[in-house]
Subunit: 327 residues, 2 copies
């Protein structure tokens, strides 16, 4: 089985590549080749020696998508995207990468066919939803994104669905919740604090909490996100039916509950590293975000997230800190 | 006020142009210029002498949208589209006209700005919805189109909404139900019989009914469609809020109820011109279509359709037959 990951230099893309290299199999089949593509040349993961190729590639540039498809991968993970904040700041770039890039990929697949029909796993986002929301966002709630990023992801879902219906590919779109705890440096994304208030204290650093503890949001770990992607790749057309874009499950909890979980696992001293510093702008942005999803279809199809924020904290400690908490 | 109609050679586009020419005003303001654009050069309507310009134009061709926007119309009605059957038969053409054409228009508006912000009325369709449906399709039901045409219209709605949110234009998208009674010759659209079983008998011709009389569907007259478009042009940003794409109201009735209305208005002899000739293919296609819409938001915003199929028959007789029924 040959696999292509587009957006392989991103956080989730890297973790997916590492996991595939480690397991050597996907959906019960041996991986015989793994191509990692991104705007910057991705680093190859350990394992799968000699079978990994890394490619710098701008999907939206003429002819680039065709080149990627020339190897006829059996599974394509499409994770490449300009993120929310950047797509809002740079209108042209957001549409070029997130819409034109995705469309170029789908077109390259359509035109490459001749008994060729790859599985395409598209990462969408709960940013396709926009307030006002019902109590929990159910599987038949409409898409009314309130960002250009969310708009581009929603269009990607529609295109994927039409190409799937036409039989050009076997598609599945997964709407990721906020990934938490995100490893690495703090960033300036409005959602950054959800991870920072766990990650920084565990690493001995102070973190700033810009919103009230009553703020509720839905989270899944990077490990769960990789699990979603791999599970999605194994779903058949029959299992999915015509509605191939699915909201992924996650843990819905308040910031207060996040902090309580941190205390239970790492102690009062660690949790005391969170400094309250209310920020009106961030509060306003976060106020328009989904609080709860009712991911019934995805759960019925076997997608599994963590079931408590305690698990989310523990997984971060295991996966990123090798079990060690800064005293 | 300067008005541009794109798709002005189509049935609804022609009727809109005629109505605007007749009234000479839109939303309380005098019309000082009317540009009619379509792939084939549209015919100018009577009235508004000297103020009507007709332009042959392929919106998806490079530079064409910019040319149309050069006159800085205050209101743009975008009705141009490759219809459902053709978009399904010719994948490339459907995406070129319905997606690339719409995007080119929006981009031309975005790039033309500098204190320029037209009202853009986009005609969408209930083809953005795909079965299975709830009892009636409500305003928060998700878009899962089952045709390329429906996909392209759904993408058009998302783009319009993002350009509206960004402040590049004042947008409103209206999802038209099936237009009935459609004047003109019978066509091969799967939905054609809904109009044909009324139009042909009234004109003294035989019509074929390919489905069961229990089939239910939602209809609005061409006159109502023109009314929707003109009403939409008068709605403000405040009235619309962030959800600018609206399902239009219509008359939901069964084929049996359509025929009963025809009998009441034109008599048994006219209704006897309908020949039952079941067609499995058409039955299957129609089976996946929306039966009822619950157009609560549009109704609250003042959009009005007919309230009975009797009215629909009467309006056809008035508008297309000058009051005369073939004995």
């Amino acid at each position: 089985m040959k696999i292509l990951i587009i957006g392989a230099a991103g956080m989730v893309g890297r973790k997916l590549a590492e996991r595939l290299a480690l397991e050597g199999r996907l959906d019960g089949r041996a991986i015989t080749g793994l191509v990692l593509a991104d705007l910057v040349q991705p680093l190859p993961p350990a394992g799968l020696s000699g079978k990994v190729e890394t490619v710098p590639c701008d999907l939206s540039a003429s002819g680039e998508a065709e080149k990627l498809m020339a190897a006829r991968p059996d599974v394509v993970f499409h994770l490449a995207a300009v993120v929310s904040g950047e797509a809002e700041a740079d209108f042209d770039k957001g549409y070029r990468i997130n819409l034109d890039g995705t469309r170029a990929l789908l077109e390259a697949i359509r035109k490459a066919r001749r008994a060729y029909k790859p599985k395409v796993v598209f990462t969408s986002s709960i940013a396709v939803f926009g307030a006002p929301f019902p109590q929990a966002i159910h599987d038949e709630f409409h898409l009314t994104p309130l960002t250009s990023y969310g708009t581009q992801k929603a269009i990607g879902e529609l295109l994927l669905s039409d190409y799937n219906r036409r039989g050009f590919l076997d598609g599945v779109g997964i709407r990721l919740p906020t990934i938490c705890v995100r490893p690495g440096k703090p960033n300036r994304a409005a959602s950054g604090f959800f991870s920072a208030i766990i990650r920084e204290p565990l690493a001995g650093q102070e973190a700033v909490l810009p919103v009230d503890e009553t703020v509720r949001h839905t989270h899944a770990t990077p490990r769960a996100a990789v699990g979603f992607l791999m599970h999605a790749a194994g779903l058949s057309r029959d299992q999915l039916g015509s509605r191939i874009n699915l909201t992924m499950p996650g843990v819905s909890c308040t910031v207060g509950e996040q902090i309580a979980a941190l205390k239970r696992i790492a102690g009062e001293k660690v949790a005391a590293r969170i400094r309250r510093e209310p920020d009106e702008t961030i509060m306003r942005i976060v106020g328009g975000w989904p609080q709860r999803v009712d991911a019934r279809r995805a759960s019925a199809l076997g997608f599994r997230a963590e079931t408590s924020f305690d698990d989310i904290v523990r997984i971060h400690i295991e996966d990123e800190l090798r079990g060690k908490i800064a005293a």
